[in-house]
């Protein structure tokens, strides 16, 4: 079990957090740290790319929700990139599909900031 977290600046003044592997009760603190660091640095428009994520649980969802709440306080937002049908299902079931922008690729997720 493993998580990969890769942060990079995109062209559109947004930051992309690229995640890979499994986000669960063990690995989600690492995801939270990466997102918290970006927000603390004053970056409020985030793309979180879940394309390489095979698994996410409620603690991972909690980290994403927490991040969204914080950036919204600064007028920012979190857009997700997600294509895995199992993970999309989780966002559907929980109704989180209504509070996050969910896109099929990074281009779409970044355009949404414009």
């Amino acid at each position: 079990m493993d998580i990969k977290v890769h942060v990079r600046e995109s062209d559109d003044d947004a930051y992309v957090v690229e995640l890979g592997g499994e986000i669960d009760v063990y690995t989600s603190p690492k995801v939270k740290d990466a997102i918290t660091e970006l927000i603390d640095q004053g970056h409020y428009n985030l793309v979180i790319n879940l394309e390489k994520v095979r698994y996410i649980d409620s603690t991972g969802l909690g980290v994403l929700i927490g991040g969204l709440k914080r950036v919204r306080e600064h007028g920012g937002t979190v857009n997700l990139v997600c294509t895995n049908p199992q993970i999309k299902k989780i966002f559907d079931i929980t109704g989180l599909v209504k509070i996050f922008g969910i896109y099929d690729d990074e281009t779409g997720a970044q355009k949404a900031f414009a």
């Binding site: 009760v25 409620s58 603690t59």
Partner: protein, 143 residues
């Protein structure tokens, strides 16, 4: 239990005990996937089971009575998989769901419980920081 379940054949029971710590939840997830493989579940249903057992372990770790281990019993029948997850040797009374809910009010109605409820066909649970945690869940074959 309906008539079909009553006629179901018992295939075997697997028991698993892991330390009540985040880094061990993946073991429960992979073990339940291997167990579920004994039944004609779809890939999607097996993913549901993995998430449900992981959420249960997470609840034991975060809201448990500080038990050192999480114990899981996975009963495999031709008609369904029944999983009991417990923390700290606490056991649901035989009367089941009614009794559990009538007893100490569950401490959490969070995202984890919500997901388990959505992904499994049956769920009974009791979450109590003093008594411990127990969840009993059923996933039926071919529903």
């Amino acid at each position: 239990m309906n008539a079909a379940a009553a006629m179901a054949e018992h295939l075997g029971t697997v028991e698993l005990r892991i330390p009540s710590k985040p880094e061990w939840v993946a073991v429960a997830r992979l073990a339940v996937a291997a167990i579920a493989n004994r039944l004609p579940f779809s890939v999607e249903e097996i993913e549901d089971l993995k998430l449900a057992i992981a959420e249960s372990c997470t609840i034991c770790i975060q809201h448990g009575a500080g038990g050192e281990t999480i114990d899981m019993t996975c009963e495999t029948l031709t008609s369904h998989l029944r999983i009991v997850i417990r923390d700290h040797r606490y056991r649901l009374r035989a009367t089941g769901s009614e009794a559990a809910r009538a007893g100490a009010a569950p401490a959490v109605e969070g995202l984890g419980i919500f997901l388990i409820q959505a992904l499994m066909d049956e769920l009974e649970y009791s979450i109590d920081p003093q008594m411990g945690t127990e969840l009993v869940m059923v996933k039926r074959v071919g529903t």
